[in-house]
Structure formats: C-alpha cells, structure tokens
Amino acid sequence: MGLALLAVIWLIAFLSTYFFVAKTWWLPAGMSAAAAGIDHQFTRTFIAMGIIFILAQCSLGYFAWRYRDRKDAAKVDYSHGNIKLELIWTTLTAILFIGLNLQGSAIWAAERFRPAGPNAVQVEVTGMQFAWYFRYPGADGKYGKTDPQLIDPSAGNESAIGLDTRDPAAKDDVVTGTMFVPVNREVDLTLKAIDVIHSFFVPSMRFKQDAVPGLAIHMHFTPTQIGDYEIACAELCGLGHYKMHGMLKVVSQADYDKWLAAREAEKQ
C-alpha cells in the first residue's frame, strides 16, 4: 500500500507539473506593455511553487512507503518535534512568501498606483446586461451628459448608455459596440455599469477590472500589438453572463483616426 501511495502521488505530481511546464494550456501571448512584468512574476511564482509542490508531494509519497510498518521496520523515532527545524522552515517560508509578494507588489504599484498619463486615449466602457458599449469623447475631449431616464438598451449605442443628445458636449461623442484603440498608446478606461457588477477582461492584455454601478473606475493599459482581442465579462451578471462579450480591435494610429473620423461623420 505504501508503494501504491508513492507511485500514485508521484505520478500525479509529475503529470500535473508536466502540463504546467509544457504550457499545454496557457496564458495567451501577452499583448500589452504590462504583460512582460506580469508574466515574469508568474514565472517566478511558478518556479517557487513548483519546486515546493514536487518536494512536498514526493516526500509525502516517499515517507508513506519508506516508513511503512513491517516486521523489520526500524523502531519509531519517539520525538515531539524539533524547535530548531520549526524555526528554520518557518523563517524560510516567510521569507519566500513575503519576498514573492513584495516583488509582485512592485509591479502592481507600477500599474495601479498611478493614473494614466495626459496623452492617453480616453474610452468610457459601460457594461450592462448583457453587452459592452464604448464611448469616445470626441474632439472636445469631454464626455457629454448621460441621463438614466434616457437609457434604453434595446435601441443600442447612444440610447443604451442614455446619452443626453441635448448636451453640446455630447454631440461629438461616439458610442460603439466594438472597441477600437491605437497601438502603442496608453488607453485610459473609465469603467461604468448601469445595473449590476460586470468585469472587463481581456486576457491578452493581462487586463481585468470590475465595472461597478455607482462608481466610475479609471484604469489603464497600453496595447503593443495590432490584432483583435476578445473581451469577456468576468463577474457573474445574470443569465446572459456567458454571452456578454465584446471585441477589442488594436489598430495603427492612422487606422484608428480613420475609424474615429468615419464614426463622427456618421453622426452628421
């Protein structure tokens, strides 16, 4: 039985580790400026936890076999413990865990302790049951007024977010169901929700942030590769949660300007 435990535990440990190392199912390639730092922290954590995982599981399996009761087994080592050993492994564990955390916190601070820069592309993201809408403030750089009384999700775009078209600042606001941003420029999102909590999640950008009713949350990221990236909702929001997805299209600055101009023209 000890041998069976050793075999099965070791097999499970090595098989699980294999799929992590082989990255059979893995994070999608990182397409934002923050991705490299985040992925490095992932790797550090994986290596540390992976080593502990293998050591712990293999020790467990090994001990189960090695110290099995049998006729010729050695006498039991009657011991209530070893304080020195306790102190050593406790200290080492604390150093490892706190150390990992401080490293990760440095990256967290870089991403989240500072607001977006002044040249960031402004996009307002509004989540609702069950769609995302994106609003661009237009040439005046100001978002027009919205009015909850004007919200009509079935009419889409401007009506979905309740844009008050009488407000002069709203005249150049562009509201779309697809999010366009230019590559290599910081994007400053203002996240809102009109009914329940949603969460704006783009795996390739290593970006996630909840959109909470009653709050307008600023969060930023910088896409570094042109492409189409799916947006998933990552906070249970009702029966349509699974189909509340959008598309983030990262394009060249020129294409972005063209697209925005075309949307502005449509409004005339």
Partner: protein
Amino acid sequence: MATTAAPHLHAAPTGFIRKYIFSLDHKVIGLQYYFLALTAVFVGMFLSLLMRIHLVWPGASIPLVGEIKPETYLALLTMHGTIMVFFVLTTAPQGGFGNYFLPIQVGAPDMAFPVLNMLSFWTTFVAFMVMLAAFFVTGGAPLHGWTGYTPLSALPNAGPGEQLGADLWVISIAIFCIASLMGALNFITTTLDLRAKGMTLFRMPLTVWSWLITAILGLLAFGVLLSAGILLLLDRNLGTSFYVPLVVVNGQVMGHRGGSPLLWQHLFWFFGHPEVYIAILPGMGVASQILSTFSRKPIFGYKAMVYAIMAIGFLGFTVWGHHMFMSGMSPYSAFAFSLMTMAIGVPSAIKTFNWLGTLYRGRIRFQSPMLFAIGFVSVFVSGGLSGPFLAQPVLDIPLHDTYFVPAHFHLIMGVAAIFGIFAATYYWFPKMFGRMMNERMAQVHFWFSLIGAYAIFMPMHYLGLAGHPRRYSQLTELAYLHNLIPLQKFITYAAFVTITAQFIFVFNLFWSMFKGPKASDNPWEATTLEWTTSTPPPHDNFGGHTPVVNHGPYEYSVPGAPRDYIMQTDPPTGTGH
C-alpha cells in the same frame, strides 16, 4: 477515592422521540448533523453533475430533469455552492464530529448546554428546508452565485430566480447563522469549562483545538454575515439602498440611490474568509490525529500545531480583501491585504511540514482512516500552493474569476475538507456504531476519490490560465473557449466516475452499521479519551465515572513503555507529558 456517580447533565431518555428526534445527547445530535450533511452532499453532488453535463452538452435533455437553460445552470451553481459550503462543510466536521467527540475527548458527560445543542441542530435543519424550498417556488432558485454579490442579488428583476427564491436563500442563510452561533456557544463553553481533571489545554487532542478555534471563528464571523443578510433583505423588500446605487434594469430606473455594492463584498467576505478556515480547520485536526495514531508516533511539534491553528484563525480575519482585488477597492488596500494573505500561508506551511515530520521515521499502518489522512495532506498541498498566485494582486489580474479560482478552493474545500470528513468517518465509525467498516470497499473508495478528484480539479488550473471565466453556463460564445472544451469534457467524465465512487462509501457506511464485524473498544490502538470508553459510548460517555487525565494525547512508541501507546487515562509514568 470513591467513585461517585457524576451528575448527568440530563437523565437517559426513554421513548423514540426523546431518544432519536429531540435528543439532548450530543452523540445523537452529532449523528443528526452528520446525516443532514450526508443528504446535503448528495444534493450538492447531483447539482454539480447536472452542471458538468450542461457545460459540455448544452442541448442535452437529461432524464427526469429535461433540458437545462442557461439561467438554470446558474441556479444549480448557486445552490451547489451554498449547500456545500454551509450544509456540508460547516456542518459535518464541526456539528457532526465535533458535537459527537468534543465532549468525550475532553472528558465531559455532554455539552455544556444540551437543550441549546438540540435547538442548534433543528435550527440548522429548518435552514436546510428553507434553502431547498427555493427550488420549488415561482422563478426557482436564485442565480447570483453562493457569494450573492449585489446589486444582482438585491434586485428581484435582475434575473429569474431572484424573486422569492433569492429571499428564501437569504432567510435560510440568516437562520443558519443563528444555528451556528448556538453551536459555537456550546463548543466554547464546553471546552473551557468541562474538561476533566488533568486535561490541561495543552493536553487536548488537536481535534479539540481545531473545533475550539473553529467555534471562535464562527462566533466572530456569523454575526457579520447575519448583518449583511439583514441589509440585503431590507434592500430587496423594503426599498432601502444599503447596497444599491442608482441602477437601470431592463430600461427601468429603479428607486434605489447611493448604496454601495462593495459594502456587501466587504461584509460578506469578512465572514466568508474565516468561513473557509471554519471548513478546513477541523479536517486539519482530524488529519493530525490520524497521522499520529497510524504512524505510532507523537504529532511532530504539538505546540507549533496549536499556535499554527491560532495563527490561521487570527490571520483569517485580516485577509478578506483578497477576494476584492479587482472590485474597485483601493489598490493600496489590496497591497495590505495581499501581505496578510501571504502571511497566512506560513502557519499552513508549518502544519504541512509537521504532518510530514509525523510520518518521518514512524511505523505507518495503512488502514482506511490513514489513507484519507495521507490523501488530505496531498490535496491540501496542491490546493494550498495555488494560493500564492491568487494572493498577489498583480497575478490576480489575469486569474480572478477564472477557473483557476475554483481549482484552488475545490482542492482545499471540495477535496481536502471532504477527505477530512471521510477520514473522520472511517476512524470514528467503530466507536459510534460498534462495528468496523469494510476495508476493501474503503480502499476502492479512496483510490477512485483521490485520482478522480485530481482528474477533476487539476485541469481547472490550466483552464484558468488560458483565461476561461467562471460561472459561464455555456462555452459556445467566446471564441477562445472553443479549444478548451475537450479539457472540460475530460473533467466531466472524471466527475462521473468520482461521483459514482461515492456510492461505494454510502453503501459501506449503511451496510457496515448493521452487518459490519463487531468492533473492540479501541481497534486502532489509539490514545485519546474516546477510546478509553466502551463502543459505542454509554449515555453519559464514561459509564458513571469521570476520567482523570495523566498524559498528553499522542504518546505513541514511548521508549520503555510496555506497549506502543499510552492512553491519556493510563496511570502516570513519571516521564513524558
């Protein structure tokens, strides 16, 4: 010294109702809790099976159930989580085994307040009935997840199931809070006041320590959950705006103003994080107990284990924000919470080292309790090590609300804590029922459960890394999920097999109650007080006298002793603890 009859806290009952229904005997009440949890776990497993089937075969029509709609999936998910967390993991380890064995292990004839104990079980039962009722009302069970985030759970028109079903869900949880608080009261008072002579705090078995700290956690946490539930009921039914700001649902402006969805999260998780320690600490206590007994070796570092339990309990109250890194909470708070979260990994690591240290140079016996105790350590390590990923806010960005999170908490709560319950069952069955469970069946149950559980939950880590969000009823919409479906199918097949294996356990349990070979008073040659009394224990636990304790709880293989274990009530030897 003449033995005087210990005054029973209550006389032995007669009549079926007093003996088995409204019993004041903690042993009967413990069994009542246990069988409630057993019923709940099969309901919970059935719900998860339906979920697994729907995920990979969305259009399938299941016999007796029909086709599952997306909102039904979410209702299954909500009730699965709620029933498992409350009516299984907060019920069986503490209410079940704790009730049965805490008084005996400390040398008491019963819990301090037997009437309160009886009431605490029946209140739990009522809570369970109210929870199940949610399935049968108009609209059905709620779909807002066991975490019940507002405003979704506060707005009756935000989804099907969110009307009466959601109210019943909240009311059931509120009733459960009160039941748990009654239980916690008993556990704490009994442990502090009814220990037999010589049973100092540091001679208590680790099971008792874990039940005591768990009770203290419950005492401090369930009041906060109750407050959260009261505010939710008020928002839902009486128009207050604790949790709900101005919102527009289906084009309709609701009457709420100014409330904070984050308030619910703070209150819920202030309870919710200690709750997961409530779910696991008793299992850790049982694992320590069994590893020591079946290695014929004292637990490695008994005092360190006690301090680790206390540290886990205390730190458990400081980490709740790690569920809220993405919530819109201040990033500075996130940093503080993450530091505390990494800190709480340290006492858990100490316990793991000490379990390994207990096995080291022992003489290991592989009866069924030990198999599950060893399995407990393995899955606890696996589940625990995904913690440091989620504990770092920057890594939580890609991982939050993906399958990585259920991978983590299922390995710890859905496997390790359950293994703790299995281990405790196989260990204490002989004492409770006077018969042995069948070892062959137990071994089959063990291997299928260990391998099956890993097959279900290890792949979920990979899904999470690939960005697979949680709580999706169907995987047909997001393009990047399509090539993850084969892995989901694998998980579903593994779930089928693992759930089937649990029937072996149930069969073994009931068959052995009536047909198992008769057990001696101490079949495992263990040292703690329950093994000093007859099998099953008499009504007042010790047959008319109160034990006197002379030894610590884990005196195995003491050099120079006549046999390889010294029971806690054996005459003092002048050496040892």
